[in-house]
Symmetry: C2
Subunit: 321 residues, 2 copies
Amino acid sequence: MELAERIRAGSQVSLARGLTLVESRSDAATELLAEIWKDSGRAHVVGITGPAGSGKSTLVSVMAQEYVARGKRVAILAVDPSSAYSGGAILGDRIRMTELAGRDDVYIRSMASRGATGGLSRAVLDGIVLLDAAGFDVVILETVGVGQAEVDIISVAHTVLVISVPGLGDEIQAIKAGLIEIADVHVVNKADRPGADLTVRQLRESLRLTPRAPHQWNVPILKAAAATGEGVPELLDTAAEHQAWMARGDGLGEVERRNAATRIRWAAEALVADKLRSGHGGFDDAVEALIAREDEPREAAARLLTAMAVDPADINGRRTS
Amino acid sequence: MELAERIRAGSQVSLARGLTLVESRSDAATELLAEIWKDSGRAHVVGITGPAGSGKSTLVSVMAQEYVARGKRVAILAVDPSSAYSGGAILGDRIRMTELAGRDDVYIRSMASRGATGGLSRAVLDGIVLLDAAGFDVVILETVGVGQAEVDIISVAHTVLVISVPGLGDEIQAIKAGLIEIADVHVVNKADRPGADLTVRQLRESLRLTPRAPHQWNVPILKAAAATGEGVPELLDTAAEHQAWMARGDGLGEVERRNAATRIRWAAEALVADKLRSGHGGFDDAVEALIAREDEPREAAARLLTAMAVDPADINGRRTS
């Protein structure tokens, strides 16, 4: 497939087309993913989440600049689980990132994921594969807002940064949103504001209360000020340390296995859905038998699944059905 | 299964337990559904939707009383797609329905369905089967609010009533919410209010603009006032007429086929999910091959599906795995 070739070669225009395909969940997207899969698996996926007003977007921009300064190619995937449409607001903000605009080694994209099962969007996971295969060393996966959907999305990342900020409320937003459990690194942003040390202390206290197995990663609490760039190099160093720690132990394997299992299940669902439709095999007869109460749904499904006999050769790039 | 027996025999306590099982989507629910399926398929499922403030709940109560007066057994299933938890608000309202409380021939239940794929909750469709098998002649499926989730839910009904009300805004809410296409009967509730005739005219105009095949059901616009009961007998008559019309033509078959197809797909998904998990068959090996980039997700899924060879005998009530 020519598109896969061009994405591998680093064409951002082709990458954008690939990501749009992936968002549409078309057959072409499935083909593209199948072809490009083996080129993925190298990028460090850094998830960033935190409440609105925590300065996430600015921090992500400054981090991206620092990655670029270190010779890394970096992609930013901003996901809004509360929206069914991408574009607009998120990308709008990024137009301010003039330092990053028009560079080969930086790519910025937003995605909407509302309506995705269990909050985790297939398009997001597939999008990461494309960015990874396109040769980006770091994929920053940023979510807008905090909630269960954001937690689900961010859990595909290798390293999760949770952003807090002093003075947004009397309690730390990350604690309220249940983000303590998923953070690999806590970042108190806008640390030049009064109350930053209080926020750090509150985070430290709630970390102390979070049960943690021995030999587990010791979650650091870093202070940063995205506006001045203060603390950002340390943030990147810590993310790299976490990645190395993950690679040494089974942490990386655990994330990869969880993601791979999700992918296989999704692929199986798609294959089954493709067979279980009107006009295909015995589906219509099974439906009639169900209505006539001669059969019940589970037995009908089992019979159809057994009969469908998926032939792996049949799906290798060129299906005939 | 004793529970199925007791539900068939009309025990409301057992029915409530069955519905709670169905909401939990446990294995026991699957067993129950399989056993009770053949006793379902008799109830008239009447869907009711409309914006907040349209007096839906009161109208549903008054309709239920009228059904009871006509010697029918009636169940009300109130679904809130915006909530992940059932109970609370919806049922609270219904405590006012003192005329209906404690009767054998009336059953009221609320269900939450937030997070369901595509808006249509499996628990809702399964709940209808239980109520149907429990011998209710009419199942009133009521949604709270108007939106795509509500449209998806209500589309499983045989007869869809869309409620409008004068003076909620300068345009009719049903039109704004895209409910015109799914209505079998339009009801202008609170028809004693000024502006009712204007609302009727606006609905008629938008129906005129909605393309309609020849020999299609001619969607009536009825006026009602739930508070006084005015127009409610005509509403029931019209719903019965629509049911008869559906039964004569292929309309009923169409709804039943759509629902049956959905059920088979869901059952297949559940069977596949049951096999595609850690420790089962070649799943873990497939996951490792994926991480090693020796395989891509779709081929891995196809191989596992082919290998899983669902044995219908294996799932008949007593699985061993």
